[in-house]
Amino acid sequence: MSKKTKSFKNQKKVSSLIVNGVLIFICLIWIIPTLGVLVTSFRHSENIFRSGWWAVFPHRGYVETREINIDPDTDVNGPITIDGVTHTFEEWREGITMPDGDRYTWYGNKRTLLVKVEERKWLGFETDLTLDNYRDTLTGKEISFTDGMGNTIVRKGNDLGGAFLNSIAVAIPATIIPIMIAAFAAYGFAWLNFPGRKFFFTVVVALLVVPLQIALVPILQDYTKLNLNGTFLAIWMAHTGFGLPLAIYLMFNYISTIPRELLESAFIDGASPFTIFTKLILPLSVPALASFAIFQFLWVWNDYLVALVFLGDKTRVVTSALAAIVGEKGQDWHLLTSGAFISMILPLIVFLSLQRYFVRGMMAGSVKG
């Protein structure tokens, strides 16, 4: 008997080891891409161009130790002998590993007559990190940085700082307004009687999965007529419209389960529906409100399509500003990575601190259009 439990215990240990091993492996795959971007965003631009981000960790690598000046009389078009080893110019330029393990690389063109010598050494953590990339992405002014060859490059900044503020100005009202409107509507549907109540709610449910592409063309026509394009009001209303079906649906599910007795006593006391709503329903619905708020905030903050269509280039939010960096400076990884992180930081904080509410909101909602 004791033998059996022991083997069972061992078996359990092994299976737990496998389970945790597989999960750790998957989690590593999940986290490494973001880690790479985070690490890169703190490296100097010339280092980013020269080596992968994993080079910040201890590893064996080549370090430049000295330079050799080639005798100007050497015939660079024929075979060249350096320190007893002979190769053509092209081969020297590719880099040659010498018998003692050092690597010799011809620098520049044939006339530079310069060979750089690198020694293979054990390198520690890259400690030469910087916040310059963040400064450069946040500003809208001119910026300069060094590329892998050591050249200085001057560019116009993408003003991610301004875009960040715009995102806040878009996301906060575009989160609160639909929640307010949805809470009012959900209360109306759940507790008040009016003609067409059932029909209208069916419409809300049907609209849950309507793709928002269906609305973009006509709404843009309206906005052009009303001269609303590019205003905050325009994008708040658009996000409100596209977010409302899910918001009403979630809030209805919650508000309709509030015990009837609780409200009836208030009705008998002669309170108006408006008072009941503001004094009773809203405080009771805080968990549902919070769930949807996080949901909608992340949705609006991370949205790209709606911002692209209704705000245009004049008032950029972080997603469109980041997409613009991708378009204009696709290989400037120091700007791209720091930009990506600036765009992610706020939703990540909101998400990690309020994860519980977010999950609850997600579970309650089925499908969003």
């Binding site: 998957i26 806040i168 307010m180 419409v203 609209l207 309507v210 209805f252 997603t319 089925s366 499908v367």
Partner: protein
């Protein structure tokens, strides 16, 4: 002193006038205040911080004010009218916005889809002929099919595997948080993150690949590749991004379904000597079938409308175009409202079965 009926009438009259006056002036002031706020926000060159604060206060406060003032107005009305109108204070704004932003546009887009690019001349089904037969559209359909099949399959099955496995681990919450975290990242941000993984420099003197994938390939003895420019495989490299983003969602939903399976059911199976694999296929999967279908449907709809990832990563070039990106290109790059509308209608038609299913579920629940 005797009561003067005439005086009573006058006071009633003046108070009625006063009430009407107030009823007109208050909404008028409200409207003016909001209008001034709008003008300020539209035309201002003021400090951006100030603009942001004003925008938030104006937007949120404005909506509250509108509800408050309309309710105040309705409560001034005779009881009969009040009871009739009051529900519409609550649902009216929502219905109006839904009508303007979703319900009516559906029909307007339908009309537009039969018109030419200027939205003036009717062209019959030309736009649909384009949308269903053009080479670019066919490629987009094929790619969307890849997204639908592989994106959904991998997000759901990976989510399921993690959910089942994490259920047996002490560190469940740590694992789940890590897998879930990409849900907070925008598609554009995810695009940058993965573009960095796939980045390619090519061959040349002193060039080191800084993209992780190419570095791994080189370390294993291969040669670096421009991953995003090789059709049709680049589609799969893009689908990986969606799987990375969406597995957290499927995992959380499926995990809660798995936790809902009665423990006795699993214990009984274990006592009977079933191994874990059989328990997975014979008990866990059938029990959570409903949730699996819901989750898969959500991901299906999601991959059908997918736009941002393709837009940021390749712009739809190199054979990676998808329907939603072609919609964007038609409307905003080529300026063809008719074709864009036809594509939007096709997207709508594709989700109609889900819509019907939702409505049926809703009716069955008898929530009303």
């Amino acid at each position: 002193m005797q009561n003067n009926p005439f005086k009573g009438l006058v006071s009633l009259f003046t108070s009625a006038i006063g009430r009407i006056f107030v009823s007109i002036i208050v909404p008028l002031i409200t409207f003016l205040v909001l209008w001034q706020g709008f003008i300020f926000l539209r035309d201002t060159e003021a400090n951006q911080f100030l603009v942001v604060v004003v925008a938030i206060v104006w937007g949120v406060g404005g909506v509250m004010l509108l509800y408050y003032v309309t309710n105040w107005l309705v409560e001034k009305l005779p009881k009969e009218w009040r009871n009739r109108l009051q529900p519409f204070i609550f649902v009216g704004p929502a219905l109006a916005i839904l009508a303007w932003f979703l319900a009516i546009p559906t029909f307007r887009t339908l009309v537009l889809s039969f018109q030419d690019q200027t939205s003036r001349v009717f062209v019959g089904i030309d736009n649909y002929v384009f949308a269903l037969t053009d080479r670019i559209m066919l490629e987009a359909f094929r790619n969307n099919l890849l997204w639908l099949v592989f994106g959904t399959f991998f997000s759901v099955s990976l989510g399921l595997i993690v959910a089942v496995m994490a259920d047996r681990s002490r560190f469940e919450n740590v694992y789940k948080t890590i897998i879930f975290m990409p849900m907070a990242i925008s598609f554009v941000g995810a695009g940058v993150i993965w573009k960095f993984i796939y980045t390619y420099k090519g061959e040349g003197a002193g060039i080191a690949e800084i993209g992780l994938l190419n570095a791994i390939v080189i370390a294993l003895g291969g040669t670096s590749q421009p991953w995003l420019q090789q059709p049709p495989w680049n589609n799969f490299f893009l689908i990986v991004i969606m799987v990375w983003l969406q597995t957290g969602y499927t995992m959380v939903i499926l995990s809660s379904a798995i936790k809902g399976i009665p423990a006795e059911l699993l214990e009984a199976a274990r006592v009977d000597g079933s191994n874990e694999l059989r328990i997975f296929f014979n008990i866990i999967i059938p029990t959570i079938k409903g949730t699996l279908i819901t989750v898969s449907t959500t991901i299906l709809i999601f991959s059908l409308k997918l736009f941002d990832i393709v837009r940021v990563m390749t712009g739809g070039n190199y054979g990676t175009n998808v329907i939603a990106n072609e919609f964007y290109l038609q409307r905003f790059t080529y300026g063809h409202a008719g074709r864009a509308s036809a594509i939007a209608i096709i997207l709508l038609v594709a989700v109609v079965p889900v819509m019907i299913y939702n409505l049926r579920q809703f009716r069955e629940r008898k929530a009303f």
